[in-house]
């Protein structure tokens, strides 16, 4: 099935119109010896055949639809209300291109404008762009912004070791071409208990950006105000990577001085979908508005004085500035931003706060119960945390997780590979989807699989 409408006689008619005998003649400019290769790709399938094949492939996976999910570490198993997907199926949204023609793209443009508004409300920031690819690339774009903010004169970027390891890896990849920039602060020798003091000591007038995570990779909540003050004293910028769900109950970074907020928007109504497509949140204080990469939607009027929305400040972007542009981003996560806009609008003020509280309370109950288990210990017990916490286990996490699979439970994240000092440590996430019974059963099973 090729989804082409041409009948044989129509093809003939068209060839005649363009004065060409055979279709092959349209490709004469292609070097002959390379023309028309045989492709080793299986033969075509009908819709009935491919659907049955896909069902078979999909059934080889175990899913969070069949087992409670205690796995997070950057992607979270939240409930997605039916409304979100039903509205996303409006094909006027999903089959549109980037809204370059505002007169027939007001739906997309207004939705992005509302997205920008909701992200500003959530983070306490002044300006949000229309999205980046994901939390990790949004963090990398924050580093690039800071580099250009100081016109390349400040050579140091400090990353907290408690920032998601994948974010730190992506930042290093992105900054490969900026050879004079030193990305540091997350040395493996830094203790995770004194990470913030270590960062604070390293802030100096050569520091362009400090990147923190809130709650951090281990779910911990710290008061960053004095650290941010210290950075601001030497003129450095501070970016905070957030979990959006947590901001339903936590003071937003805009209120404690962050200059840039980035984050993974997947918890805002996007399916886990094996890691993507997700949504890169990116918001700043107003003084940085002209330094932001990516698209911005602004409100204006049309010639009839009706309110209208357009892409604005486009002179920052690659299609105008070409090699002088600070980022090459073009396509972003439009449909994911729309999903999150629907999600935040539907949950609303009360629903979103309640959601955060549900995650917080269930995670705390789970932590208390697990801490009581023989051989298990919650590690940062005296530090406030949101919906994720680190547990020391009596056996290697990979072994426990494989055993949990037999009981249809998806265990937490093994942090050992990223934090070599944390052997046998599991990062556990609890969302609103998990019931008290499931937490109790999880505890029982943990005990069972480690004491057999």
């Amino acid at each position: 099935m090729t989804f082409t409408p041409h009948t044989d006689s129509e093809v003939e008619e068209m060839l005649k119109a363009i004065d060409v005998k055979r279709i092959e003649d349209l490709f004469q400019e292609i070097p002959e010896s390379f023309r028309f290769p045989d492709l080793a790709i299986p033969s075509k399938l009908t819709e009935i055949e491919i659907l049955s094949e896909l069902q078979e492939i999909a059934s080889a996976n175990a899913t969070t639809g069949d087992m409670p999910c205690f796995l997070g570490a950057g992607a979270y198993d939240h409930y997605i209300p039916a409304v979100v997907d039903m509205l996303l199926r409006r094909s006027e949204f999903y089959t549109a291109y980037t809204p370059y023609q505002p007169e027939i793209s007001q739906g997309t443009l207004q939705a992005v404008f509302e997205y920008q508004s909701l992200i500003c409300s959530l983070t306490g920031m002044d300006v949000s762009n229309a999205s980046h690819y994901d939390g990790a690339t949004a963090a990398a774009e924050a580093v690039i912004l800071a580099y250009h903010f100081f016109r390349g004169k400040r050579k140091k970027v400090l990353l907290s070791r408690a920032v998601n390891p994948q974010y730190r890896q992506v930042i290093r990849t992105y900054m490969h071409g900026y050879e004079d920039l030193q990305i540091t602060g997350d040395n493996q020798a830094t203790s995770l208990e004194s990470d913030l003091e270590t960062i604070k000591r390293q802030i100096d007038p050569d520091t362009a950006l400090v990147l923190l995570q809130y709650p951090d990779f281990f779910g911990r909540i710290y008061d960053y105000a004095s650290l941010i003050d210290a950075a601001h004293k030497v003129g450095a910028l501070v970016a905070v990577a957030i979990n959006p769900t947590a901001l339903g109950m936590l003071t937003p970074p805009g209120e404690f001085g962050a200059d840039i907020v980035v984050g993974e928007g997947q918890p805002l109504g996007l399916p886990l979908s094996y890691g993507g497509p997700y949504l890169g949140l990116f918001a700043t204080k107003s003084r940085l508005v002209r330094k932001i990469a990516g698209r911005l939607v602004g409100k204006t009027r049309d010639i009839d004085e009706q309110p209208a929305y357009v892409l604005t400040l486009t002179a920052r972007e690659q299609h105008i500035r070409r090699d002088k542009s600070t980022s090459n981003i073009c396509t972003n996560q439009g449909l994911m931003a729309l999903a999150s806009t629907i999600y935040m609008s539907l949950l609303g003020k009360q629903g979103f706060k309640h959601l955060a509280n549900l995650c917080y309370q269930k995670a705390h109950y789970a932590a208390q119960q697990i801490d009581k288990l023989d051989g298990f210990e919650v590690v940062y017990k005296n530090t406030p945390f949101f919906h994720e916490f680190l547990v020391r286990c009596p056996k290697p996490v990979s072994m426990i997780n494989l055993a949990l699979q037999d009981y249809m439970i998806l265990g937490g994240f093994d942090v050992f590979e990223d934090y070599p000092e944390l052997e046998n440590h599991m990062l556990i996430a609890v969302t609103e989807k998990i019931t008290k019974n499931e937490i109790d059963a999880f505890c029982e099973t943990l005990e069972k699989v480690t004491h057999d």
Partner: protein, 493 residues
């Protein structure tokens, strides 16, 4: 037609979604962390449904009608793809689950990697890049790291033809290179004499879109590639226009060292009103080890009793991780479904019909609009949207007037090397009847330009909003809804 914002529709105390009550004993959060207020709107479920339904009605998509945006390949997006991606086995898998529990996903990605290798003529493919521009960045970083690894530190220059997309020069800067723009010759090909000047030991590489953004296949492509290779540079192919070449030619065989695919163009995945895209990158043999970490591979071969075990592979000299996890998996599922349905013969047919449609439309229009490069085109072509006898009428007026006739306009003012460009890509999924109607509208507009130019200047007339004041938008920056009494920030100068 206007629609209030979600904040304007809000009524204090209204609820749209109910979560269960808390079923565990309560733990308090220290006061100093508790947020004071959350300025989210308060709507009912029906409020939300109507609001976003109204917004969708103010949009134009491929399902509404012809969407001939040049170089965007806005072909029909098959509905089965949407069903495929929503299968629970795909949608509800966590990216960090044990590998043994996600063998279906890994099989699908491995197979798609293999198919893209075969289609592009490359030795390996990464599915990680989130979009075409990120694929370009992967390519730029690979070029950077490749020369550095060989301790060839002098190579700092990337050549980019003047017909290229803006992402190419922006990518090269981000990857740490100096950008040099190459002119096109009178037939729209890369100018070989200009190229020769830069083929020296400072050349890191060339980024080439082929067919180029004029819709023309570069007649000197083999020579261009050879010259760059001889000088020690690498050749990057921007795969944005691959739709013209599916099953017709493999860029890797021609000598391209690196190329990105745009799954959201060539492989029919929806563009979502600005994303998500997906930009897998293929490379030749000598660059495999530089690909982003991780790649999908077979970690244990199959035997009589067991299927192969799929897992991850970490390339030795990798540029590193380019995004979280493994790529836009949901987009990959759609592209896998599309390629499966087309099969080898279907891929070939897609390119043929895409090129046939473009040439048919070109023939219908070239007597009415100036064709700057009079050649047979590939999957798209560029016309001038201006006439000498009515110099007041511009490409923009023509584009806006097309909306009154129910069509999405072509790309305008790009590529920059054509005066008042109208770049038209009909794609293979449009019928002769639709193409005829579109040509008729453009010919009618050419008549209107002479008889009643005012109707073009004031167009569009029948759209949800009319021409928008973009200068005001940039001057009086309003980038979010005004909530409560706070001042709207952003406007600085």
């Amino acid at each position: 037609m206007t629609e209030p914002t979600v904040y304007e529709l809000s009524s204090s105390g209204r609820k749209g979604f109910q979560f269960p009550e808390i079923d565990v004993p309560l733990s308090p959060l220290p006061d100093k962390f508790i947020r004071k207020d959350l300025l989210f709107p308060e709507l009912s479920e029906q409020d939300v449904v109507r609001h976003f339904t109204h917004l969708s009605q103010m949009n134009y998509g491929i399902d509404t009608g012809l969407y001939p945006l040049g170089s965007c390949t806005m072909k029909y997006n098959p509905k089965i793809n949407e069903k495929a991606v929503r299968l629970q086995g795909f949608a509800l898998t966590h990216p960090l689950q044990p590998l043994i529990s996600t063998q279906g996903n890994l099989y699908l990605m491995y197979t798609l990697q293999e198919w893209l290798k075969e289609i592009g003529g490359f030795a390996a493919v990464t599915l990680q890049p989130a979009a075409g521009a990120q694929g370009e960045l992967v390519g730029g970083l690979i070029i950077h790291k490749y020369h550095k690894y060989r301790r060839d530190f002098k190579r700092t220059k990337i050549l980019i033809p003047d017909s290229a997309h803006g992402t190419n020069p922006a990518t090269s800067s981000m990857s740490g290179f100096d950008v040099i723009s190459l002119p096109s010759d009178e037939r729209g090909n890369v100018d070989l004499n200009s190229l020769k000047v830069f083929c020296n030991d400072e050349l890191a590489g060339l980024m080439l879109t082929n067919p180029n953004t004029l819709g023309l296949f570069d007649e000197n492509v083999l020579q261009v590639i050879q010259m760059v290779h001889k000088a020690g540079g690498l050749v990057y192919g921007d795969g944005a226009n691959l739709n013209a070449l599916l099953g017709i030619m493999r860029p890797g065989e021609l000598g391209f060292d690196i190329m990105h695919f745009n799954l959201h163009k060539t492989f029919a995945t929806p563009h979502g009103g600005g994303g998500p895209g997906s930009g897998p990158v293929g490379v030749c043999d000598k660059l495999i080890d530089f690909l982003p970490d991780p790649l999908i591979t077979i970690v244990e071969e199959s035997d009589d009793e067991n299927p192969p075990l799929f897992g991850f592979y970490h390339p030795k000299k990798s540029i590193g991780r380019i995004k979280s996890f493994y790529g836009h998996f949901g987009v990959l599922v759609r592209a896998f479904t599309y390629i499966s349905m087309l099969g080898a013969e279907g891929l070939h047919h897609v390119a043929e019909m895409a090129v046939l449609n473009a040439n048919y439309l070109l023939t219908k229009l070239k007597n009415t609009y100036t064709l700057p490069y009079d050649r047979k085109c590939m999957h798209e072509f560029v016309l001038e949207g201006i006439w000498k006898d009515v110099p007041d009428v511009h490409a923009l007026d023509i584009a806006k007037r097309l909306m009154d006739y129910g069509f999405h306009p072509p790309t305008n003012y790009f590529p920059l090397i054509v005066h008042e460009a109208l770049k038209i890509e009909p794609t293979e999924t449009e019928s002769i009847q639709t193409l005829d109607a579109f040509a008729a509208a453009l010919i009618k507009i050419a008549e209107e330009a002479r008889k009643d130019p005012q109707i073009l200047h004031t167009a569009p007339h029948h759209t949800p909003v009319r021409r928008c004041d973009e200068i005001k938008a940039a001057r009086d920056l309003v980038l979010r809804c005004q909530v409560h009494n706070e001042k709207i920030p952003g406007s600085q100068r």
